[in-house]
Symmetry: C2
Subunit: 236 residues, 2 copies
């Protein structure tokens, strides 16, 4: 039976590395939600990079470029990590370089995995269906906040883990997968309410991003799966 | 208001280090349960060391010595990390060197904190009361299993965090403390049952340690607080 595991911090991802596993990178607020939205809106490719300098260098080569740190879009870039920035015709067919506080760090941490896909509530169901079809081991990698655990990424991991275990023929021997499943069951009837006291939701609320949060917590709006191929994210 | 935070892995403890905080090291199955039991049974001092070699060297200097790896007592040592080993008159007044798979690694990770105490369900209430009296920041450091998250340490962290926040005048901005509190509330009416599928409980069940697990999950049997003073653990 394929195994599902949940890793709460990119910093400890090496402890979870499994050559046979598909890694799902999760940064609900907001990098992986923005990336999912971008592909749903016709972006051709994205180049996730860990540092702002790399994003800048790609911008200078002529790419569109997105950069966010601590919840805010950086000056000199066309885009940040608000999904709403990717909902317009300007991005269609484009290749966009992107660097964010947590999400692109998590992608970099998992870059040596055999397969890396992007998960968010926006593509929850298609991700679950895809993983169920593959029947390979799965590592759900939460980007967290600066390598600390966060709730919203964990809830998404719990939704996927639970579905794979109870309806997908997967098993687990991983306490973080079990805990994430419990937390998802507590939260699922109102994710927004459950996250009312979470650290990152409060961080973003201060930046007046309630609209973004609501959008990012509403499942299945963008049924596409971004997948890493070499240095590029493309649509599966 | 003093803050409470929960760290799920000794490997990421540096992200949580706070000069003003009291660190509570937690390894429910079984190092911190064994240490609490030892002091309750009259052990004078313990010397927690990260490596088996250090424990061996101290044994050769004449100390009693305990060593455990992967749930089993190592050959050539008087004690492992089963609390039942510390419930006899031979240990009374002794100084015991101890090295375990996870617990003593967590103590080592926190060694530069201003104050380190030992927590387990066995001393739950006295630990909460002590922290409440101090009104300093608190970091609950879960030993986990080889730097991965585990459920039983998280449940204890949740019990303490919740009590400090709702009845102790503490606050938190830490998602892992919030998650641990939720998990504790799900589990508190039957910790043993809740942990039925947890990874470490199963690991120990294979070693026929159900009696140890039952003991370690029964609160308030040993109302003492071990505290780190230099290289020694002593009774507070």
């Amino acid at each position: 039976m394929p195994q599902v595991e949940v890793c709460y911090s990119p910093q400890i991802y090496p402890l979870f590395h499994n050559e046979k596993a598909i890694v799902v990178v999760i940064d609900i607020l907001r990098a992986t939600s923005a990336i999912t939205t971008a592909f749903y809106n016709g972006v051709a490719k994205m180049i996730p990079v860990a540092t702002v300098e790399e994003a800048k260098a790609l911008q200078q080569k002529g790419y569109m470029a997105a950069a966010e740190r601590n919840g805010e879009m950086l000056e000199g870039f066309e885009l940040g990590n608000s999904p709403f920035g990717y909902m317009n015709t300007k991005v269609k067919g484009k290749t966009i370089a992107i660097s964010t506080t947590n999400g692109t760090q998590a992608i970099a941490a998992a870059a040596n995995a055999s397969e890396v896909i992007i998960g968010s509530f926006l593509n929850l169901e298609v991700v679950i269906n895809y993983l169920r079809e593959q029947q390979k081991d799965v590592t759900l990698l939460c980007a967290g906040w600066k390598n600390k655990f966060n709730l919203e990424d964990t809830l998404f991991a719990g939704a996927v883990a639970d579905s794979l275990i109870y309806k997908g023929g997967f098993t687990t021997n991983c306490d973080s997968a079990i805990a994430a499943g419990h937390l998802y069951h507590l939260a699922k009837h109102n994710l927004f309410e459950f996250l009312a006291n979470s650290s990152h939701r409060n961080r973003l609320a201060k930046l007046d991003l309630e609209r973004d949060i609501n959008y990012c917590l509403t499942p299945n709006q963008c049924p596409v799966i971004p997948i890493l191929k070499g240095q590029y994210l493309v649509k599966l």
